[in-house]
Amino acid sequence: MKKLGVLLLLTGLIMMAWNGYSFWQQTQAVATYSTEKVPEPYKDWDQTAYQQELPIAEKDMTDTKKTPAPEYNTGDKVGTLNIPLIGQQYEVYWGTGIDTLKQGVGMYDSEWTVTPDQSGHVVLAGHRDTVFRQLGKLQEGDHLYVDYEDKTYDYQIRKIWITDEDDRTVIVNKDKPTLTLITCYPFDFIGSAPDRYIVQAELVSAE
């Protein structure tokens, strides 16, 4: 009986330690900084008044249909996402499969979505408990910055909503340059959360 008790104790300990370590490792894709020390390219992050989205003609953007899909391999690092309001910077990787999302934030690769340098829908997904823990603090008007291929894309949040995990109306074609963040909801739910938290923003500047 004593042996069993010790065995249970040890098994439990190993499970906690192993999973705790994986958990910690996954949170490492997020860098934090104080809102007083927001990096230069993101200095207008607190301007939450409505800004007009960038007209497509003004941007140095190529037509989606003409450009071939980028030659990334799944799991390649493609850029960073910055959210000064919560003082966080995330590494962004190509793809949203199970292994990619363990690395950090994933950029959705599909027939409906594009990379930030193209006019269309950019979708980023992240784990609720390790990466996108503070997404609930964002509000309409806040800014999201994506650094991609030496350019900074400034998106302003237009809409935040919660939907079912089976909703197929979120990841769709968009004509306007749009950024969508997806994570699980409820945030404090233990286990496979049944809903998704959606943050949708439009491009207001690119430089």
């Binding site: 098994t11 499970m15 906690m16 996954q26 089976d166 496979s192």
Partner: protein
């Protein structure tokens, strides 16, 4: 009591340290085997007039196609590459689908327990640079082609939501529960001795 504890331990060991304990694991799709079965159906031997000798009717070919791929995909290949005239099946002479180069590297990404996505970059004289994409779906107890080069546009409007939940907190809680059970056992034993 002892048996119960042993049973719990065996269960934990068998399912490994990963949770969810009860998720079904179908393994990876048999990429090469499926690929070969696909070519056997697409690149069939024909007579000089492109008559397919192996099949008398499109119905039988359709049946075989649908045993290795989802229906809309099978319909696409049947419509594109075959026709039936006077009770014979003919191959429509045209450029065949992009093949997977088995000697070159490819990435196989797990999308979910029921879906894997394969990508392979390649280049040839006919197509220039290209990216081959194949999706595998686990349907009715086996792996089949779910899509190839996005031929089947999904019946729904848009893409599937990524799986953004981790099971790590669950697994940690489960480990904690095991530790608590172990500690309880030890304490109760000590009390009995005292």
């Amino acid at each position: 009591m002892k048996k119960l504890v042993v049973a719990v331990l065996v269960l934990v060991t068998l399912t490994g340290l990963q949770i969810p304990v009860f998720a079904e694991n179908h393994g990876e799709p048999p990429v090469k085997e499926l690929e070969q079965q696909f070519y056997d159906l697409i690149y069939m031997e024909t007579a000089e007039n492109y008559e397919v000798e192996q099949y008398d009717s499109l119905d039988r070919l359709e049946e075989d196609m649908k045993s290795i791929m989802v229906w809309p995909l099978a319909d696409h290949y049947l419509d594109t590459y075959f026709e039936e005239r006077d009770g014979n099946v003919y191959l429509i002479p045209t450029e065949g689908p992009i093949r997977l180069n088995m000697d070159e590297d490819y990435t196989l990404e797990k999308i979910s327990d029921e879906e894997y996505k394969l990508t392979q970059h390649g280049e040839n004289a006919l197509r220039g640079e290209y990216t081959l994409t194949i999706t595998y779906s686990y349907e009715a107890g086996k792996w089949v082609f779910g899509n190839r080069m996005d031929i089947v546009s999904s019946s729904e409007d848009g893409g599937e939501m990524p799986d953004t939940a981790t099971s790590l907190p669950n697994a940690m809680a489960f480990g904690g529960a095991l530790m608590a059970a172990g500690a309880l056992l030890l304490i109760s034993r000590r009390k009995r001795i005292a």
